[in-house]
């Protein structure tokens, strides 16, 4: 907050509230959170909670909610705000005529970029639970099973490990083998799917798995590709490993997102599209949120990536995707923490 010049923060995102206050809001999608509104106001000298941890309910009425927030903000002149409903934000701005309301990201995301040892331990634990749950489901990837059934079994396996907060729809979906199988693909990108369906698996289908769950306040992000009832294509996996190895070789303090990007492109070979889906990425950060900056390989561009300097404590998920017409595709994910001397893997090798 000091670096960003924020004298107060009005936080409404569950992750931001949890990070700043230690209080865990109930998890749900945007509509569920709207049904149980909560907020936190953070100043250097105090925290005020609304709708959380025994605190007074956060009013749904915009005027009353803005009044409560304004009282907590007090005399702060520069206030970082999370997402607020339009009416609440406008009313809060009127209630704080001497304050400047700006986005809270400069404080919230900067604080979260570098993880402590305790945070790394929580990330390892979340990842281990996710990996164990997926391993339990892999034998169920057989002809005749629906993609959605795999999601249900996975969620049950996670629940039995005490993990019930699913931050993103688990992906268990068949990789397209030809461009015509994925007509929605954006120009210049590799054919891919992101959303699980009721499709019934057939022998030889390559099932891309991508799951993230919230455990102890921190996210896991597991990814691999598993062939249904047949041996995997060794060539695709070898290409993927070559790209990952090249990127890992750049993972050390002082290197930039641009260096990782360049290493991936070089390992992928010339004349091929970038080895990740458009508009996704080669790598992203992770922590209390499942997808956090830095984003490497996006439209943010080279100049932005050159400013993404790796420092010890940053955690990255590398997720290149290789695809060839007829052969299909392979994507898996590797989670690493940047250390003083390079990196430490927080995830197990993909099965």
């Amino acid at each position: 907050m000091a670096d960003a010049g924020h004298e107060a923060l009005v936080l409404t995102a569950a992750g931001a509230v949890r990070y700043a206050t230690g209080v865990a809001p109930p998890h749900g999608d945007a509509s569920a959170e709207a049904a149980r509104p909560f907020a936190a106001v953070v100043r250097a000298d105090r925290i005020a909670l609304f709708g959380l941890d025994g605190a007074a309910p956060f009013p749904r009425d915009a005027t009353r909610a803005a009044g409560a927030l304004a009282d907590a903000v007090g005399d702060a002149r520069r206030v970082g705000v999370d997402r607020l409903p339009f009416a609440l934000g406008e009313t809060l701005a009127r209630a704080l005529p001497r304050a400047e309301l700006v986005g809270a990201e400069a404080s919230v995301l900067a604080a979260r970029a570098v993880k402590t040892a305790d945070e790394l331990a929580l990330l390892r634990a979340a990842q281990a639970a996710n990996e164990a749950a997926v391993a339990e489901i892999l034998p169920a990837i057989v002809p005749g099973v629906r993609e959605i059934d795999l999601t249900g079994r996975f969620l049950a396996a996670m629940a039995r490990r005490g993990v019930t907060a699913c931050h993103v729809e688990p992906i268990w979906c068949v990789v397209p083998r030809s461009a015509s199988d994925a007509p929605w693909t954006f120009p210049g990108g590799l054919p891919y799917r992101e959303l699980t369906s009721e499709r019934v698996l057939a022998a030889g289908d390559q099932v891309m798995i991508d799951t993230g769950m919230l455990h102890g306040g921190y996210m896991s992000d597991f990814g691999c590709t598993w062939t249904c009832g047949a041996a995997p294509d060794p060539g695709l996996r070898a290409r993927w490993e070559g790209i990952v190895d090249a990127v890992l070789a750049e993972c050390r303090p002082g290197r930039t997102g641009a260096a990782l990007h360049a290493a991936a492109l070089a390992a992928n070979g010339s004349g091929r599209p970038a080895p990740w889906p458009v508009p996704l990425y080669l790598a992203h950060g992770i922590g209390i949120g499942g997808v956090e900056p830095p984003f490497i390989g996006t439209d943010l561009g080279r100049a932005a990536e050159e400013s993404m300097v790796l420092v010890p404590g940053m955690v990255l998920v590398l997720e290149p995707y290789v695809w060839e017409a007829g052969a299909g595709g392979y994507r898996a994910e590797v989670m690493v923490a940047i250390t003083d001397g390079g990196y430490e893997r927080l995830s197990a090798p993909p099965p």
């Binding site: 509509s31 997402r83 990201e105 959605i148 954006f186």
Partner: protein, 325 residues
């Protein structure tokens, strides 16, 4: 096919509401509202923010413009030009939105407070999109009610599987697991399991084909709950009997209290592509009229026994869309 009809129907209602409000452009950043208006299954990935709109609806346009990482979740009837890759560069995203908005006259309605968006749209009048979207949500078309009813069946099936597992010593994690493995949907929120003495309150909420289903029940762990269920059913019927077009949410609260429902918590909420208004909270004192066509989940808590049933508000008696208790 049915899903496509529901999406087109919703979009037509959004356009009609925009016309009534004189809105030239509608900008939506809230995920479930973006899904409602556009028909896209998912338009935002976790962590990508939340103050930059991912859906733009221009007055008279044949479909919304969607910015997404998941083009496989966009309805096939949407023109290809209306599906754009999500821009991680927020400045570029805002500039693109400004260019789209420049194509139309009229006010610009938005569902979130976004200082950066206001700056990008300097000179345009911004208004709150909430009233417009509330009008568009209700009344539900028959095809939408059918879709929600299917999601309710899945949620109830998952809940019943969880309830059957309630035995002395069972872990709440196991109850959540039973619900997950018996559902064919994506969780809308965590499976809620609360223990109150010998009573176990369960709630499952999920999405099926883009529509939300919610099911709640209370199960006795080696204890007979039939008397409690009867008292709950009386409260449910008391609330439901007053749920008609034009009735106030305050009247629902009063009916619930008179029937012995607890003093806090959500008594009822709308349901569609998520948990939706009206949100009838027993701890609040706000008031709003019910609209015919609203799908309402009613969930009184009487003496620790809480369960849900869904109905459709009509101009007369409500129409249950789940089996009666």
């Amino acid at each position: 096919m049915t899903a496509g009809v529901a999406e087109r129907t919703r979009y037509a209602r959004v356009q009609a509401a925009m016309a009534r409000h004189g809105v030239g452009a509608l900008l939506i950043a809230t995920p479930h509202l973006a899904t409602f208006a556009s028909g896209a299954r998912r338009v935002q990935v976790a962590g990508s923010g939340g103050t930059v709109p991912w859906v733009v609806v221009l007055a008279g346009a044949p479909s919304a413009v969607v910015f997404t990482t998941d083009p496989d979740g966009v309805p096939p009837w949407m023109p290809g030009a209306a599906v754009e890759p999500l821009r991680w560069d927020r400045g570029a995203q805002l500039a693109r939105i400004a260019a789209l908005v420049a194509e139309v006259d009229g006010t610009v309605a938005c569902d979130v407070f976004a200082p950066a968006l206001r700056a990008a749209l300097a000179g345009r009048t911004l208004v709150d999109a909430t009233p417009l979207l509330a009008e568009a949500v209700a009344p539900r078309a028959a095809v939408e009610v059918e879709a929600v009813a299917r999601a309710l069946v899945v949620a109830r099936r998952a809940l019943d599987a969880s309830g059957r597992a309630v035995t002395p010593g069972v872990a709440t994690a196991e109850l959540a697991a039973r619900a997950a493995e018996h559902s064919a949907g994506f969780p809308l929120a965590e499976t809620m399991v609360r223990r109150a003495g010998d009573l176990v309150q369960l709630e499952v909420s999920l999405y099926v084909a883009g529509h939300a289903g919610v099911a709640g029940d209370t199960v006795g762990c080696d204890v007979d709950v039939s008397d409690r269920r009867r008292a709950w059913a009386e409260a449910l019927c008391a609330v439901a009997s007053g749920a008609r077009d034009g009735a106030s949410t305050g009247a629902l609260r009063a009916a619930a209290r008179a029937a012995g429902a607890g003093a806090t918590g959500l008594l009822a909420h709308g349901l569609g592509v998520g948990i939706e208004p009206p949100l009838v909270d027993l701890a609040a004192d706000d008031d709003a009229p019910l609209r015919a066509g609203t799908i309402l989940v009613v969930a009184p808590d009487v003496g620790g026994f809480r369960a849900t049933r869904a109905l459709v508000v009509t101009e007369r008696a409500p129409r249950w869309i789940e089996p009666a208790p």
